[in-house]
Subunit: 293 residues, 2 copies
């Protein structure tokens, strides 16, 4: 048997998913940004996300920003399903020599973004460990949830914001695209949507595979952050922008309405979904972020 | 500022809890076995719990039992609120050199106990780290939930099962007292209930403090596992038995009915809740498990 480094993250996840117990209360199981289960009026979204010291942050980072990031990532996933975040639970693994003030600042950062998005932090768990880990479980609700697998051949692919170079600062300070995602779900019904967390080069193939189609993307057309090449916009991780597909007939009105609704947030057509075998993935350098590589 | 080792787990948690954002959707916030939020017909219970390599298990443990334990602990907390577990999310932090077969076995153990308790595993998160961590977020529902803070002076204290010596094997193989907890909630309405995870010596004072009362406990009367002294039954952790308080007038019928319902599970009166200043905690050796000590 291989190690998980040799196997890779996606293959590991596929192996795990194959045999999980699930019954009719589950509307959507593992493999998307969130799980979806039966709720009261609306469906309930469930998400867990973790950040690890020296993988997602370093100890010289301001602790408020570490706490902020831990929750913001999960909000981004709830947003990417077209949902509204509700309640958070926090697991903190901490080395015993951690300063109590560090933990307080971390929680202040988390509480501030929770308050901003009207999220309750309802519970948590602490344990000691050799390396700091912050795992956030977040619930949400959605009247119309958007999976990543609903796209069809011919749908146009778009991304919000600009990509690449997130490591400089954006990965700590990004604003989850919650408002934009809710607006999209309400007025323009994307056929598929996800947030870009491991880099477009990894996440777009995941979306296309989930849709059972291929993709063509124009890397030179990618919206790049200042100082970033299109290649980095393609492969860098932690953008936390929305990637979505929409019926071609709706694109023109979307672009028009978006400019009025979000004049400061770029929206860029980056390609389209095509039939299997007609994609251009093989012409693009592979890349993106594998947690075990 | 102190380190968290100096501060201790309970003080750290108190500091964190003090400033968390919460609104009217939260029926019960941090500090009990689970959080309680508004659900559809029933209240929804939310719990997160983590186990860490070399703290809660070692790598020479059978991986199926590690996975089993990770979920069983959270089930025990849902049970301790009088709830029924529903959906689980799993965060796995893994060293890249972990064998893929280890992860498969771990998930098999988790899936088996999930299936046994009709729990859906709906999602997860994986990341690399230097030390293995398994954090489980679990939802549940409860028509009548039981907090740990409802006990009054004069209420009788009872525990299920036998205590102490869990490290030998029980901490990996225990059956969460879900059936018993639901039965108690339905027929005998404990005034306060929690599961014993950090040892009675730590958990009973927490319950008494939450009730705003003191306790008297007869350590010699504690139900001990084979080979365990009453002292160890008092201080050892990871029993995962139920500790609950009940109105004195209900005790006799409870003992009678319990013997019919659960003939193989001991139920033992261990003491009672008393007015502040009338307890005997000062006569007992302190102890129990502090995660940062």
């Amino acid at each position: 048997m291989p190690t998980i480094r040799e196997l890779g993250e996606d293959a590991l996840v596929q192996q795990i998913i194959a045999s999980l117990p699930q019954d009719e209360r589950v509307l959507l199981g593992p493999g998307d940004d969130c799980a979806v289960v039966r709720g009261s009026e609306n469906a309930q979204l469930l998400k867990v996300d973790a950040i690890v010291q020296d993988v997602h942050f370093t100890l010289d980072t301001e602790p408020r920003l570490i706490g902020r990031k831990a929750l913001a990532r999960a909000i981004s996933d709830i947003a990417a399903m077209g949902g509204i975040p509700e309640h958070a639970l926090v697991t903190l693994i901490l080395p015993p020599e951690t300063e109590a003030s560090f933990v307080q600042q971390l929680y202040l950062g988390m509480s501030a973004i929770a308050a901003r998005y009207e999220i309750n932090i309802v519970g948590g768990e602490t344990s000691r460990g050799t390396q700091m880990v912050i795992s956030v479980a977040l619930t949400g609700s959605a009247s119309h949830w958007i999976r990543r697998s609903g796209g069809s051949v011919g749908d146009v692919l778009l991304v919000t914001g600009r990509l690449g170079g997130s490591i400089a600062r954006h990965h700590l300070t990004f604003e989850p695209r919650l408002q934009q995602a809710l607006w999209l779900g309400q007025y323009h019904r994307p056929t598929a949507m996800m947030d870009i967390s491991d880099g477009l080069a990894k996440d777009l193939p995941r979306m296309a595979a989930a849709c059972g189609v291929d993709f063509r993307v124009d890397v030179v057309a990618l919206p790049c952050n200042a100082g970033c090449s299109p290649q980095r916009a393609w492969t860098d991780g932690e953008d936390y922008e929305l990637l979505f597909a929409i019926n071609e007939a709706r694109v023109e009105s979307l672009i028009h309405d978006w400019a009025n609704a979000f004049p400061t947030v770029p929206l860029t057509i980056i390609g389209k979904l095509v039939a299997i075998g007609e994609g251009n993935a093989h012409q693009l350098a592979a890349g993106g972020w594998d947690h075990f590589a």
